[in-house]
């Protein structure tokens, strides 16, 4: 066996083919790659005599350039290139408002076709209400805590009457920071999920 690079050559060809076929729909892409893999196996089995690297190179040459085979698939199956949705002002607005003014931000999040259902649910549920939600949450905690501490909701009095322990202060600080950071993390996640500059995909016409 003198085809010392056979596996490498074939893997390289198939990798280039897989790359060229990236834009094809799942079904035709899998079928094409399977057909090519089987063709190569069959061609190797048919070759009589000792297999050399040249044998493999000839098989791959006759098979054709991956881009040519993929172009043929596109034409034969009548596939059309579809430009993916390009994120724009709507998405930027949604991201900013999700943090600053949540109700409108969440509406934009659901209007925009750039996010899928999971992204939208995460954007809606995870840090409920953006910074506005945090503010409301903080106030409600303050009013609930107020009476239990000293029967007054006035902030000045609160400080005098309830002296929280060091642990309580630390805990409140951590929760507060978490609440402030969470909306930013979610927004960053949604920004990443936008996948700016996605390549065009092929669809059945």
């Amino acid at each position: 066996m003198t085809a010392t690079h056979a596996d490498q050559l074939i893997a390289g060809y198939l990798a280039r083919l897989a790359d060229a076929a990236k834009a094809l729909p799942q079904g035709p892409r899998t079928e094409l790659l399977d057909d090519m893999r089987r063709h190569i196996a069959e061609a190797r089995a048919r070759e009589s005599g000792e297999e050399t690297d040249a044998t493999i190179l000839n098989i791959l040459d006759r098979l054709g350039e991956p881009s040519v085979v993929v172009a043929e698939t596109r034409e034969r199956l009548g596939l059309q290139a579809v430009q993916p949705y390009r994120p724009g002002i709507l998405e930027i607005g949604a991201l900013i408002l999700l943090v600053l003014f949540w109700p409108i931000g969440v509406v934009l999040l659901w209007i925009s076709p750039a996010w899928n259902l999971r992204d939208r649910l995460i954007g809606t549920l995870l840090p409920p209400g953006g910074f506005m939600g945090v503010l409301i949450f903080g106030l409600s905690v303050a009013t609930v805590q107020g009476p239990s501490c000293g029967g007054t909701t006035q902030f000045g009095a609160l400080h005098e009457m309830c002296s929280p322990t060091a642990e309580q202060t630390a805990f409140a600080a951590i929760v507060g920071i978490l609440l402030l950071i969470l909306p930013l993390i979610t927004t960053a996640y949604l920004a990443i999920r936008l996948r700016w500059g996605r390549p065009a995909m092929m669809r059945f016409a």
Binding site: E31, D35, M36, H39, A43, G64, V69, T73, R76
Partner: protein
């Protein structure tokens, strides 16, 4: 064949070849199911297929259109082979093409002969 290759309007000839190729495949499996390599051998000999890999998209297309159906068969000297077989619809498509082709060829031949005489 040499004449065809020398024609400058390569786009037209290759389009005609592409169009006719799918019916050549249907014709090759008219009587007996064949696997891809048998088709490649037969088409390669006549110069109808130069890039072997482009046969597979064509076969996928014929299968999607219901003109051929496929069946896996074990082979004695290698991996299992997928055999392509003509369906009733494929047979109808082939007959229709054959009729069209015969009258088309006759018409073009007739005109070319006339032009040569004058």
């Amino acid at each position: 064949m040499c004449y065809i290759l020398a024609v400058p309007t390569d786009g037209l000839v290759s389009q005609m070849r592409r169009g006719a190729l799918e019916y050549c495949v249907l014709a090759l499996i008219r009587d007996t199911p064949r696997y891809a390599f048998e088709l490649i051998d037969a088409l390669g000999k006549t110069g109808m297929l130069t890039t072997e890999g482009t046969l597979y998209p064509l076969l996928s297309r014929l299968r999607r259109d219901g003109l051929v159906k496929t069946e896996w068969r074990e082979s004695t000297d290698g991996p299992p082979r997928r055999y392509y077989e003509l369906t009733a619809e494929g047979r109808r498509a082939l007959t229709a093409f054959r009729n069209e082709w015969v009258s088309f060829r006759a018409a073009v031949d007739g005109i070319l002969q006339e032009a040569k005489k004058s």
